[in-house]
Symmetry: C2
Subunit: 417 residues, 2 copies
């Protein structure tokens, strides 16, 4: 990457860094809010300046396009421009700006393109109204009543927020796209985890997006006075939940094949008073892995452990799956293409790794060939104002994306690459 | 107990049951609120009708008195008339109404009394402004700045609530009493636990009020994305807290000498989101026992277990004692007196038991000889609208209190009985 190129990308980051600055720290560009819309407007102008045509679909996803010589499915690159509240600069924006930079280089190169190149900036990846709203709208996966039923934590309704942002909300599937128009999807994203930093690697090639199963487990015992109820007459919901939690973690460590991740992030204790034995505890638990059979095995084991622990502790247990998403393997040919380009740019292989978090690539990747590159982020931190990635790995990753894109654009052989 | 006596006590309960009925269920007579004041007014009238003189001290505690022939310290009987929000009918009121009934019987008997009898109804036992406000005021144990510093959860300030109820708030120690005026304290209370019901016993003689140590334990790890952070790179505060909680319970079961009670009633998880590894967990833990050395041992073991678990899990642990109260043994001679009377009334011995909860008897018992009787409550339930005790054990308990009181009133030998 030339010095001029780095300067251009830095300037793009400076421009986006001015949009949605939150007085509380970091950036807040919630979906369909003024800041997200401003970011999309900025992107459209920048893409037009680079010679791309730009449109917004019915859900406000921005699609910048550089036509190819043949009417083949497009190579699509991108990510999203919304942020969590008081989030960071790189999550999402990096993938969009890297795509823009790749498109600029390709447009300027004057090379023939066998297929179109699209840079797509999705809306609401962070899930103000439900995760991946924009890419799910394009994939045709939103419920028919999405405009009314998808609501933000603050009570805002998707349809009303979209109309306030200037979009018509006539049909929930209005942004649905024929996926045969997209040959494949590439996305550069910060890792949002500590693995690359811990190993000192600038780039990771993603092999699969982990599937997940979220369980909501309720332990129901009996409230009682903490002073007056002897230990043997208790049905202590937290004692049961704590024992289960410890066993759950051990089980993931032993049976998770050094790959799976199991987390209890939500704990609600009722009545949560110092002198009352807890009558009820709800745990929000999730398990992630890139292997569907392993995921199913671990979820089954978690349910069984909860029941077993409840029986030991005379506490009733109910367990339901609150969310489940299968693993999405990245396309093997695209992984090989990114891998080859990374070897050329770095002079050595880049590590292959799973994505523990889901991304727009996980939505599109279920329908079209997709692949992702990761760059490290300091301390593994994301969704916070301190979120940061150094320029050298970003420069390397953009170079890998550019090389890969050039090759894919040159090929006419595959309907989907 | 005669049928007439039961009818009179039932009528008293009906009168008190009409005061502070909460539309949300049960009774709400918060300290210094209109309902608590109405209950004290009712008590004063009923006591005067029974021939007692009645006064309120500077904190609004009602003291009904039947003089004795000699100027000896008084036998005092009673409890409190406030309730928790949506509480039950028996907690506190039973002790006051039983005392009133005993005083009526003694007044009507015409027997000579060597010492005075007092029936005392305390304010704010339930701790709207800080537990046992009324009895601590009489014991001279409130802080000098109590009127300003003691506040309710709803923000109400003790001094303001008292002034609104018509009390002057000039000196925090204005209700302090020379404890040499009180020979001893007897209190009848519902058990608020399941032991008597589980054993089918109508009466329990309390041997000691358990001491307690409350610990606030904070586990501080690192937040991280639940999907992107491998298990071995985590510092999961809830994983550490859960393991500690399980070990704490086991430790109490093994080392608690089948007597101590250990409870984790408060659990606060930060940030408490499904996809974020908990960065911080605060546990509110308490240990109770009637043995001061055992209590100290168990609290030390809890602290050590927390530290040890934190070290194993790479999580920082801080631990502080948020409250500590030593056990208060009941007076051996009073226990023997209640025990003897119980044998006469029941025709067999009543079980001896600790009080896991504290009572006004725990405040006074640190300064004067004190003892308590328990009656069972259905399901061990208290502080709820369903709180209930059958009439037969109440009748038995009042009979035991009456016999004991007659004997203590007949004795001139002890300055304090």
């Amino acid at each position: 990457m030339s010095g001029a190129d780095i300067a251009r990308l830095k300037a793009d980051f400076e421009a986006v860094a001015a949009i949605g600055v939150d007085p509380q720290g970091g950036w807040s560009r919630p979906a369909y809010g003024e800041a997200e819309c401003t970011a999309h407007d900025w992107f459209a102008n920048a893409a037009r300046e680079a010679g791309l045509s730009v449109r917004q679909d019915a859900f406000g996803n921005s699609i910048a396009r550089l036509e190819g010589s043949a009417d083949l499915p497009a190579l699509a690159i991108g990510s999203h421009l919304d942020t969590v509240t008081c989030g960071g600069l790189y999550d999402g924006a990096l993938g969009v700006l890297a795509g823009l930079e790749v498109a600029r280089r390709i447009a300027r190169s004057g090379e023939a393109r066998a297929r179109p190149l699209e840079i797509i900036a999705f809306r609401d990846e962070e899930g103000r109204f439900g995760a991946f709203t924009g890419s799910r709208a394009m994939a045709g996966q939103l419920p028919q009543d999405a405009f009314a039923s998808m609501r933000a934590a603050d009570g805002a309704v998707l349809g009303e927020a979209m109309e306030a942002a200037g979009f018509k909300t006539e049909r929930a599937d209005a942004a649905r796209r024929d996926m045969a128009q997209i040959a494949c999807w590439l996305e550069l994203h910060i890792e949002q985890g500590p693995v690359l930093e811990a190993t000192g690697e600038p780039i990771g090639v993603v092999t699969a997006i982990a599937g997940q199963e979220r369980l909501s487990i309720r332990f129901s015992g009996s409230a009682g006075h903490a002073g007056t109820t002897p230990m043997h007459l208790r049905r202590d919901a937290f004692a049961a939940a704590a024992r289960f939690a410890d066993r759950f973690r051990d089980m993931i460590l032993v049976e998770g094949e050094n790959s799976a991740r199991g987390t209890i992030g939500i704990v609600r204790v009722t009545p949560n008073q110092g002198n009352v034995i807890p009558s009820q505890v709800s745990l929000g638990l999730e398990i992630r892995d890139i292997s569907a059979p392993l995921l199913a095995h671990l979820a089954g084991r978690a349910r069984a452990l909860a029941q077993q622990t409840g029986e030991e502790m005379s506490v009733d247990v109910s367990c339901r799956t609150s969310y489940a998403a299968p693993p999405v393997p990245m396309d093997a040919r695209l992984v090989a293409a990114l891998d080859g380009a990374a070897r050329e740019v770095l002079g050595r292989p880049a590590p292959h790794m799973p994505s523990g978090a889901n991304h727009d690539a996980g939505i599109l990747g279920a329908l079209v060939p997709a692949a992702m590159l990761f760059v490290p982020c300091d301390g593994g931190l994301s969704h916070v104002p301190q979120e940061h990635t150094d320029w050298p790995p970003i420069a390397d990753a953009v170079a890998v994306m550019e090389r890969t894109a050039r090759r894919l654009l040159a090929s006419t052989e595959l309907t989907q690459c």
